[in-house]
């Protein structure tokens, strides 16, 4: 099912959480809403789910206006950041809940409920936990149960709010790869919220970068990382050197700077203040000789070794790629 967000605005008191946001999500797509905390990404997700009512704008599912449709009737699967599992129910009963609360005429029989719940528990590879209670499970297991519970009502859309936010680093990585594989299996239109750029870039088909209630950029992971549309996207996705120049600023990624021992055309001289070896890469902290500005450069370990420079040496820098943003309101540089 496709999702269309058309001109949605939402205020909480004086705070503007969403400002005229429009977005289209194609059927079967896995989309990440990426932004810092307070950017409005969770609000946007809750508006799509029907948990928040927008001040203005519409939400369309498959072209049908769903803005005024009751939450119970939206057929939306929602996974909460802190799982929101029913703590007094077993895992089985948690997953079965959405089937049990159906009106009698639409409610499947007990054997059918058991069959469906077990199928879902197998899907999330936790069928052996059916009789446990939520507090007996690890965070990663709880999150998968929350997903199974959301899928039990056979939703047309799956929405996940910071699905890996409360997990530790190792489980996060495993779970997000697992989610990607699961999505490739079931092909359900899915939207997830995250503040972790790595997560968004690794898992999503398309990334929506959100900041201060507005969409900064929409694109594939490659597009948003390699061709950031705004200074915000540049700074939010990965490290960047911001170089003041006439009438604006140049944005250069640390790994997109070429380092040579001698001068070349268009290169500038800099002093190596510090060289930090981080596994396979080396990060140089340098200062420009002309302006004294501090810059960061990243280069592969072997390239650094061949260069043979030490702290205090002079190197020559040339950006392989940079982008100039004129001095103006950041939103004027926005590419829709």
């Amino acid at each position: 099912m496709s999702i269309q967000v058309a001109g949605v605005s939402k205020h909480f008191g004086a705070f503007e959480a969403l400002h005229d946001v429009s977005l289209e999500i194609a059927p079967g797509e896995l989309v990440a809403l990426l932004g810092p905390s307070g950017s409005g990404k969770t609000t946007l997700l809750r508006v799509i789910a029907g948990l928040e009512v927008p001040d203005a704008g519409r939400i369309l599912f498959n072209g049908d206006d769903a803005t005024d449709r009751r939450v119970q009737e939206r057929e939306v699967g929602f996974v909460f950041q802190h799982y929101a599992l029913f703590r007094h129910m077993t895992i089985f009963e948690n997953v079965a809940f959405g089937l049990r609360v159906r009106p009698r005429a639409l409610r499947p029989g007990e054997p059918e409920i058991a069959r469906r719940v077990l199928r879902l528990l197998k899907l999330v590879q936790l069928d052996w936990l059916a009789d446990r209670y939520p507090h007996q499970l690890s965070g990663g297991q709880r999150q998968r149960i929350a997903l199974a519970r959301a899928l039990a009502i056979e939703p047309k859309v799956l929405l996940l709010d910071e699905p890996f936010g409360a997990l530790d680093a190792k489980v996060r990585k495993e779970l997000r790869r697992w989610l990607r594989r699961l999505h490739d299996e079931i092909h359900l239109t899915s939207v997830f919220v995250t503040h972790d750029q790595e997560e968004a870039l690794e898992v999503a088909d398309r990334v929506v970068v959100v900041n201060k209630g507005r969409i900064e950029q929409v694109g594939t992971p490659e597009e948003v990382y390699d061709h950031p549309a705004t200074p915000f996207v540049y700074e939010f996705l990965g490290n960047v050197n911001v170089i003041e120049s006439e009438g604006g600023r140049d944005y250069v990624r640390p790994h997109e700077i070429e380092v040579t021992a001698g001068p070349q055309s268009g290169s500038l001289a800099a002093l190596v203040d510090h060289a930090v070896k981080i596994g396979p890469v080396v990060r140089l902290e340098v200062s420009r000789r002309d302006t004294g500005e501090n810059l960061e450069v990243e280069l592969p370990r072997d390239r650094f070794d061949r260069l043979g420079v030490e702290t205090g040496a002079v190197v020559w820098l040339r950006p392989r790629r940079s982008r100039f943003f004129p001095q103006s309101a950041p939103h004027e540089a926005k590419i829709a």
């Binding site: 909460f80 802190h82 029913f86 959405g98």
Partner: protein, 287 residues
Amino acid sequence: MASIASSAPLVRATARRRPVAWVPIVLVGVALAYLSLFLFVPLFAVFFEALRKGWGVYLAAIREPDAWSAVKLTLLAAAIAVPLNLVFGVAAAWAIAKFDFGGKSLLITLIDLPFSVSPVISGLIYVLMFGLQGWFGPWLAEHELKVVFAVPGIVLATVFVTFPFVARELIPLMQAQGREEEEAAVLLGANAWQLLWRVTLPNVKWGLLYGVILCNARAMGEFGAVSVVSGHVRGYTNTLPLHIEILYNEYNFAAAFACASLLALLALVTLVLKTAVESRQAREQRP
């Protein structure tokens, strides 16, 4: 006292310099002496005085018809007050904990109000409303209805003094639990009734029970408020605490303490249940 094991670094640290292992012993001793003077000895005295003249006198005092009718009235007042305040507590906690609206803290303060009003004044306000010289007094007299100095007055006063118990137990509990589980249930298709019975109430059952236990203890033991509205008609408008007062003022100490021992037992049962519920609640609230 030999097994007192101090876990206080305050004590341990000084112990290295000079032997002061007596500090915890003295502190525990003083605390226990204080509690004995004001709690343990009076509690023990109730049962001791009740049985001083033997089991025969004790049982006779309890079986006396006026005592029985006092027990029945006490149970009736609690049986009405507790369910009413239970429903109120759930409704108030639902509105306060699950929604945002203006004046919330004012509302919480108003719900707590009966706790800060003297029991005597709690009774007085109903006399001023429904007594012969009260607002509705003439109208009630005309229709030959009696509220004050009758059972309805006793029930009203009991409802008033036990008003906040369930609500104040549920409000912080439901606020702490947040709204996500209810939102998840709505997203899964649950209607209001299913939400209440399958998600919200099971989640707060121990807190609810805790509030009901305390509410019931106060309902059965209330003295001041009920005393004002009762009129002290033996066998008709006397609750058990009022019956104790009458026996005591008639110097029938053995009977007074016999009836008092029933209420003291109720208090002990209340404390046992309360402790049990607390530990259940603590266990279930592990994340």
